[in-house]
């Protein structure tokens, strides 16, 4: 087997999480949201057709709020999700049933790809680096972090946005479906200047790729609220520069 290199460690420059209509971030939202908006930021819509997409767009908007356009040119995005485009699939299918296949909604259909939200963020915020949407069950967000650490090196990127989005789906053990959409993102960089913390990819550890809920999304959101040292699935380890005393 190929000998593994030393564990890869990168800096976490910014972090943001959201649930429903609430967001929290580091550095704090108040410090950043309304400063130095670029032209594309000013055209940011109040909402998209999909609440999850709206929340994700606003969160990423916060992460890159004062990045100059040249830095956005190569910015990569990796999003982990379990539910994917389930709700938009539902909407398109409803249009097929209501109007007949010949008159199904093209607007709904173009949002039925799991990658739609990442693409929408790219288009709205003019991010031209590589994009990836991945689905890995309960470890989807953790895997996105792991792939982000790899991307910084392989694609020689300066920065990459990684995280997870989900609208919790019913499961056998949790049938309620009134939970709000959730997102959590980090801005990773190889730059070691004043990071919030670090993300490290250790040896790969298996995860439950088939699980319908992403527990690593909740773990990341919790880390953003209360930074500490935590192990996520897939061999990802997060450290805070200012752990609680």
């Amino acid at each position: 087997m190929t000998e593994r290199r030393d564990p890869q460690t990168v800096s976490i420059l910014r972090a943001v999480a959201g649930e429903g209509d609430r967001m929290w971030a580091a550095p704090s939202l108040a410090d950043s949201l309304h400063n130095q908006a670029t032209a594309s930021d000013r055209s940011l819509p109040e909402s998209l057709p999909d609440l999850l997409a709206t929340l994700a767009l606003r969160a990423v908007h916060h992460l890159i709020h004062n990045l100059p356009q040249p830095a956005r040119e190569s910015l990569g995005i990796i999003i982990g999700t379990t539910s994917g485009s389930l709700r938009m699939d539902h909407e398109f299918d409803r249009s097929r049933r209501d109007a007949g296949a010949r008159f199904a909604s093209p607007t709904a259909f173009r949002r039925t790809l799991p990658s739609t939200i990442a693409a929408e963020i790219s288009v709205r915020l003019k991010l031209r680096g590589p994009l990836l949407t991945l689905c890995a069950g309960d470890a989807s967000t953790a895997l996105a972090l792991r792939r982000g650490v790899a991307w910084l090196r392989h694609f020689q990127l300066n920065q990459v946005i990684v995280g997870g989005i989900d609208w919790p789906m019913p499961t056998e053990h949790a049938p309620a479906t009134d939970e709000p959409p959730q997102v959590a993102f980090l801005l990773l960089s190889q730059d070691a200047q004043a990071p919030l913390g670090t993300a490290r990819a250790d040896r790969w550890t298996p995860a439950d790729s088939g699980h319908p809920r992403d527990k690593s999304l909740k773990m990341l959101a919790e880390w953003i609220r209360h930074p500490a040292s935590i192990h996520l699935p897939c061999g990802v380890h997060l450290e805070s520069s200012n752990p609680p005393k």
């Binding site: 379990t82 299918d93 259909f109 990442a118 693409a119 590589p130 949407t133 392989h154 790729s209």
Partner: protein, 404 residues
């Protein structure tokens, strides 16, 4: 200088070269038959069905065939399945099952509906479990570039030591949900899919299951070919339409060339995305010109011998034959592109009769034999949301599996 063997030797010296040049494609497989599918492309003979005869466009039939094809590919090699991973490229997975779940959900309403819906992650996980693969497993979904992105991700996992071997699989079925959607977008051809033809009028959907087995170059005895470079970039222009300036695709192609340490005129063949839609093919023509018809004018004289024409590599495409197989397209089309090395002939663009662009070396009519050995092939893909990817396949020095 571009001999792959030479590049491999410096892999421990130059990190960039390690990244670009040390992944081997050990084997390829296509549900329905790799050899038969290749011959259908090369000889314009009937295409084998990827389904059982009674299956129709049924996900489960194709899934079974794909599973069997991958299992056979793995059984023919003494692989450590516990340290082999799988990345499944798909756009919609088992969308029929999901639609059933959605409709049941509507009927019984939230509280009474406890079964979990099918997910892409679950599909990848189940696939890997059935194949007894215990390495990294996930589904990659980047619209119609999913297949190439899965291949690139699998290569990076290998280079990082996350697995000893990786399977990049693609599986998508053109069922009613997808057909209705593309119909609503008015993207379907009422006639035939005719990539790069001046009379092209839309795409034809197809279904496919295929896989590529990847290993590190030092571990694979007889590679089919080498994955020597790749690139991924976004247009950031529109949710469904391609960038008319081809910005993302051009950057992806140039990244791949840089990583492979190749010049544009080193590329012998380009296997285009070639959907047969007005805008996609026009966008690809812009990208081919930008990358291969550069100021040096390097590409044009090799195949034609005529000075002044800017033609670049031979360009071929598959979707006139197999249709647009969405998330699977990057995998099955890369598998078929790899077959070109053994045959040293380039199959034509199926259904292309009246080429729209004279300055591109579009292969029409009958298979083409190149004036010099075919050593480097570029495969590109673009998807909704402006997600573009490019990979470069290089001939494996010292042979490899001669037949697809």
């Amino acid at each position: 200088m571009n001999d792959p063997e030479t590049r491999y030797r410096v892999k421990h010296v130059d990190e960039r070269v390690t990244i670009s040049a040390s992944v081997a494609i050990e084997a390829i497989t296509i549900a329905g038959g790799t050899e038969a599918t290749w011959r259908a492309w090369l000889n314009d003979s009937p295409l084998p069905s990827p389904y059982d005869s009674a299956g129709g466009a049924n996900y489960h039939h194709l899934r079974e065939k794909t599973h069997a094809a991958i299992d056979e590919m793995l059984r023919n090699r003494a692989l450590p399945r516990k340290s082999t991973g799988l990345i499944l490229a798909t756009t919609k997975g088992d969308i029929d099952a999901e639609v059933q779940w959605i409709r049941a959900f509507d009927q019984v309403n939230d509280a009474g509906h406890s079964r979990s819906p099918p997910t892409l992650g679950n599909e990848a996980s189940t696939f890997a479990q059935e194949l007894k693969l215990a390495g990294p497993v996930w589904a990659a979904s980047t619209a119609c570039s999913s297949g190439l992105v899965a291949l690139i991700e699998a290569a990076m996992c290998l280079l990082d030591g996350d697995a000893q071997c990786m399977v990049a699989a693609g599986l998508d079925v053109a069922g009613d949900f997808v057909r209705d959607g593309f119909g609503a977008l008015k993207a379907l051809s009422p006639t035939l899919c005719r990539p790069f033809d001046r009379n092209r009028d839309g795409l034809a959907l197809g279904s496919a299951g295929a896989a590529l087995l990847l290993g590190t170059l030092d571990a694979v005895q007889r590679p089919v070919c080498v994955l020597s470079g790749w690139g991924v970039a976004s247009d950031a222009v529109h949710l469904t339409a391609p960038d008319r300036d081809a910005g993302g695709l051009i950057r992806a192609m140039r990244q791949a060339l840089t990583m492979a340490r190749l010049a544009p005129n080193d590329i012998d063949v380009l296997v285009a995305h070639g959907t047969g839609t007005r805008y996609n093919d026009a966008m690809e023509a812009v990208a081919i010109r930008a990358v291969f018809h550069g100021p040096s004018g390097e590409g044009e004289q090799r195949h034609t011998g005529r000075i002044g024409e800017r033609r670049g590599p031979m360009v071929t495409a598959l979707k006139g034959l197999i249709g647009h197989t969405l998330g699977a397209s990057g995998v099955i089309e890369t598998a078929l592109a790899a077959c070109i090395f053994a045959e040293q002939r380039v199959p034509p663009i199926t259904n292309l009769i009246a080429p729209e662009w004279d300055d591109l070396d579009l292969v029409t009519g009958t298979p083409r034999r190149a004036a010099r050995p075919i050593r480097h092939i570029m495969k590109v893909a673009s998807g909704f949301g402006g997600l573009n990817a490019a990979v470069i396949l290089s001939a494996a020095s010292g042979g490899g599996e001669a037949s697809p």
